[in-house]
Amino acid sequence: MTQRVFWKQLSDFMGEGRFKVSSVRRGQMIASWLFPLPAVLVVAIMLAYPVGYTVWLSLHDLSPFNLDKPAWIGFENYATLLKDTRFHAALERTIYFTLGALALQVTLGLGMALLFNHDFVGRGIVRTLFLLPMVATPVAMSLIWMLILNPVDGVANWILKTLHLPPQLWLNSGKSVLPTLILIDTWQWSPLVMLMILAGITALPHEPFEAAAIDGASRWQSFRFLMLPMLRPTIMVALMFRSIDCLKTFDIIYGTTQGGPGFASETLNLYIYKTGFDYFRLGYAAAALVVFFTLVLSVSLLLIVLRRRTEAAA
C-alpha cells in the first residue's frame, strides 16, 4: 500500500500528475526490475558465475598443457576423488580441526563473555587487549607463532623448561601439529565468539534472573537453567560463523607449516590449493572444490535449521 503511494508520488513529481495509472504501473514494473539489477548483477558475476564455472571445470580434464581444449570427462574427477587417499585424509583433518577449534573457542568465548559481563577495575583495557589477536594479520601472526614455537630456541619451550616441564615439538611433529594449529586458531578467534556472546548477554532481560534470585536459585542454577537456554540462539550464530571459517582455514596453516610435516596438517583447503596451483590439475581441483563447497554449505544449512529450532523452542 505504502509502495503504491510512493509510486504515485514519484509519478506525480516526475509527470506533474499527467501520468495515467497504467503508465504508473508500467514504470513500477520497470523499476522493480531496474532497481535490484545492480545487486543481481553483482551476485551473478561474483557468485553464480564462479560457482557455475567451477562445476563446469570439475567435469573436464584441464591442465596447463590443454588449456585451449579441455577434455570433457564427465564424473571421472569425482570417481578419482573417491579413491584418493590423500583427499580422504585431508577431509578427516578438516573435520578434526573444525570440531577441536569450535569446542575450544565456544567454551573459552563463553567463559570470557561471562568474565567481561562483570564489572571490575580495568575491564575496558583488558577487553581491548583480548580483542587484539582478532585484528592481527594472520600471516604475520603465523611467522611470530613459528618463532615462539620453534623447538630449538623458541620462547614456548624455554618457558616449559623453566617450569621443569618437558619441551614440546609443537608444529614440528605429525602428532602435535594439528592440536597446535587449533590452539593458534583459538587464540585468534575466541575473542570474536566472546564479542558475540557478550552482545547476546547484554540483550537478555533482567527480570527472570531477579525472579530466580528471589526464589533462591544459585548462580550456577541461574546460569545453567536461565542464561544458557536464553543464549542458545546467539551461541548457534557464533557456531555457524566459526564453523564455516574453521572449515575454510587456510592462512595460519599455510603461513606456518604449508600442510606439513609431510601431509600432517594438510586440510582440504590446503590440498585443493596444492592440486590447483602447484600441480595445476585444475579440473581435479575444481571437483574437490565442489565437494568442499557442498560440505561447507550443508554444515551451514544444518546450523541454520538447528538455530531456527532453538529459537522456536525458546
Partner: protein, 433 residues
C-alpha cells in the same frame, strides 16, 4: 754500417707494421663487430629466484644498463612463489622476457608446455652475440643443466653441487676423521651429538618435499634409484635402507622437530654453531663463510657427501616464446653469464658454470678457500642429475616421497609408508602417460 742501419730500420718497420695491425684489428672488434647499444631504450622484464647469484647480479646491473641503454626490471621471488607466478604468467602468455628455471625440477614440464625457446639461433648469430661470449667455455655439466630433451633452452648462471659442511675444530678435538661412508658419518654424528647443549651431530632437511633432493644422494649412494624400468622404485630394499638411514640420522642425531627444517632453518642452525655435519647445496657456503652472517666462518670446511653421489643443479636463464624483446633479452643473458661476471661471482664463492673462471689466475692465486674449491670441483665431477626423477609432475612426486621421509624421521613403519607412496606414485606416472 749501412747494412747494419738498413737491418735496424727493416726490423723497426716490421715491428711498426705488426703493432699497428694489432691496433687496427682490436679497434675493429670494438667498433665494427659488436654493437652493445643496438637495443638502446628497450625495457626488459626478468622473473628470477632469490639466490646468492641474484644478489651479485643485482649489484652489477647498473653496469649493464650503462653499457647497453637497456633497462632491466628484475623481479625476484622465493623459489616456490616464482614457480607459481611463472606458471600463471606463462599460461597467460605475458610480457616476460627472461625467466629462471631449474631444469632438474620443472624442465620437462615447461618443455612439454612449450614455454622454452632454443637459443642456438642467437648464439650462432655474430651480430647478436659478442665474440668474447665463448659458448665453448661452459662446462659440459653446466650445459647439461640447460638442456632438456636435447634442446639448449637457456644459459646456466651457476652450476652447483651438493657438498658436506663440517666443523674441523670439533672433529679434530674428538680425534675424528672426516667421514666418507654412511657408516662413518653415523659414527661421527653419534660421537659429536650433544643435544643438552643444543649441539647436534647431523643437520639436514626433513621438511617433506624439500628434503627429497638432498635425500637423493643417499638413495643413489645406497644403490637405489627414483625410477627403475619406468616404474617408481620407492619401496625397494635399497630405498627402504636409504629412508631408514635418513630418518634415523635426523631422529637420533638431529635437532628436535627436523621434520619442518629446510635449508633456511638448517643454515640458521649451522651458522649459529649448532651442528657438526651438514649436507647442502654448495651455494650455501657463501653465507657460511661470511663473518657478518655466520658465527662459524673461521671454523668450517668442506668435503664430498657421504656415499659420493651428490646432486647437481643450477638456475638457467631462458626466453619464452611470448617474449616481446627476444634480442634485448639475449643481450642481458650473454652479459650476465659473461666470462667477466662468471669470474666475479666465483670470487664471491658462487660456483661458476665456466671453466675459465675456475682456472683464471685471479681466482686460483687468490682463492681464500681452496678446501671449498676442491670439494666443489670433485663434487661437480661426481654429481648426478637425479635430484628429481625425470618426469613432468615433479612436485606431486616430491610431496608423496616427502611424507615417507617425515614418517622415517618420526620413527613410523617405513615399509608401510613406502608401499603407500609407491602406489600413489604408480598412479601419478600412469596419469602422465
Amino acid at each position: 754500417m749501412k747494412q747494419k742501419l738498413a737491418g735496424f730500420l727493416s726490423v723497426a718497420v716490421l715491428l711498426a707494421v705488426i703493432f699497428s695491425s694489432v691496433g687496427v684489428s682490436s679497434s675493429l672488434a670494438q667498433e665494427g663487430e659488436f654493437d652493445w647499444r643496438r637495443y638502446e631504450g628497450t625495457t626488459i622484464r626478468v622473473l628470477w629466484p632469490n639466490t646468492a647469484w641474484t644478489d651479485f647480479i643485482l649489484e652489477e646491473l647498473p653496469a649493464f644498463e650503462a653499457l647497453t641503454g637497456i633497462k632491466v626490471n628484475m623481479e625476484t621471488f622465493v623459489e616456490d612463489q616464482l614457480r607459481q607466478k611463472l606458471t600463471v604468467e606463462l599460461i597467460a602468455g605475458s610480457d616476460i622476457d627472461i625467466f629462471g628455471s631449474m631444469t632438474i625440477q620443472e624442465g620437462f614440464k615447461y618443455h612439454q608446455a612449450g614455454w622454452y625457446t632454443t637459443l642456438d639461433d642467437l648464439i650462432n648469430d655474430p651480430t647478436l652475440t659478442n665474440p668474447d661470449f665463448d659458448f665453448e667455455d661452459f662446462s659440459e655439466g653446466a650445459i647439461s643443466l640447460a638442456t632438456v630433451n636435447g634442446d639448449l633452452i637457456g644459459i646456466p648462471t651457476y652450476s652447483d653441487a651438493q657438498i658436506m659442511f663440517y666443523r674441523p675444530s670439533i672433529l679434530e678435538a674428538a680425534g675424528l676423521k672426516v667421514p666418507t661412508t654412511f657408516e662413518e658419518t653415523e659414527a661421527v654424528a653419534a660421537a659429536l651429538h650433544d643435544p643438552d647443549n643444543d649441539f647436534y651431530g647431523w643437520i639436514n632437511r626433513g621438511k617433506g618435499a624439500a628434503a627429497t633432493s638432498v635425500f637423493s644422494s643417499v638413495l643413489y649412494g645406497m644403490g637405489g634409484a627414483w625410477i627403475v624400468d619406468g616404474k617408481p622404485a620407492i619401496n625397494t630394499p635399497e630405498a627402504i635402507a636409504a629412508f631408514d638411514w635418513w630418518g634415523r640420522m635426523l631422529r637420533e642425531y638431529g635437532p628436535p622437530g627436523a621434520v619442518n627444517n629446510s635449508w633456511p632453518e638448517n643454515l640458521q642452525l649451522f651458522t649459529s654453531g649448532k651442528g657438526a655435519l651438514w649436507t647442502e647445496s654448495g651455494q650455501a657456503a657463501a653465507t657460511v663463510l661470511d663473518p657478518e652472517q655466520s658465527g662459524v666462518a673461521d671454523d668450517v670446511s668442506f668435503a664430498v657427501v657421504p656415499g659420493g653421489k651428490p646432486y647437481a643443479y643450477g638456475w638457467v636463464m631462458s626466453i619464452p616464446p611470448s617474449a616481446p624483446n627476444r634480442e634485448a633479452a639475449w643481450y642481458f643473458i650473454q652479459w650476465a653469464t659473461s666470462k667477466e661476471n662468471s669470474l666475479k661471482a666465483k670470487l664471491l664463492g658462487i660456483p661458476a658454470p665456466r671453466t675459465s673462471s675456475w682456472e683464471d689466475p685471479a681466482f686460483t692465486e687468490n682463492d681464500p678457500h681452496p678446501d671449498l674449491t676442491e670439494a666443489m670441483r670433485e663434487s661437480l665431477q661426481l654429481a648426478m642429475p637425479y635430484m628429481n626423477p625425470h618426469i613432468v609432475n615433479v612436485q606431486p612426486w616430491r610431496d608423496v616421497v616427502g611424507q615417507v621421509i617425515v614418517d622415517a624421521i618420526e620413527g613410523k613403519d617405513i615399509v608401510a609408508s613406502a608401499n603407500a607412496a609407491q602406489a600413489q606414485l604408480e598412479e601419478l606416472l600412469k596419469q602422465e602417460q
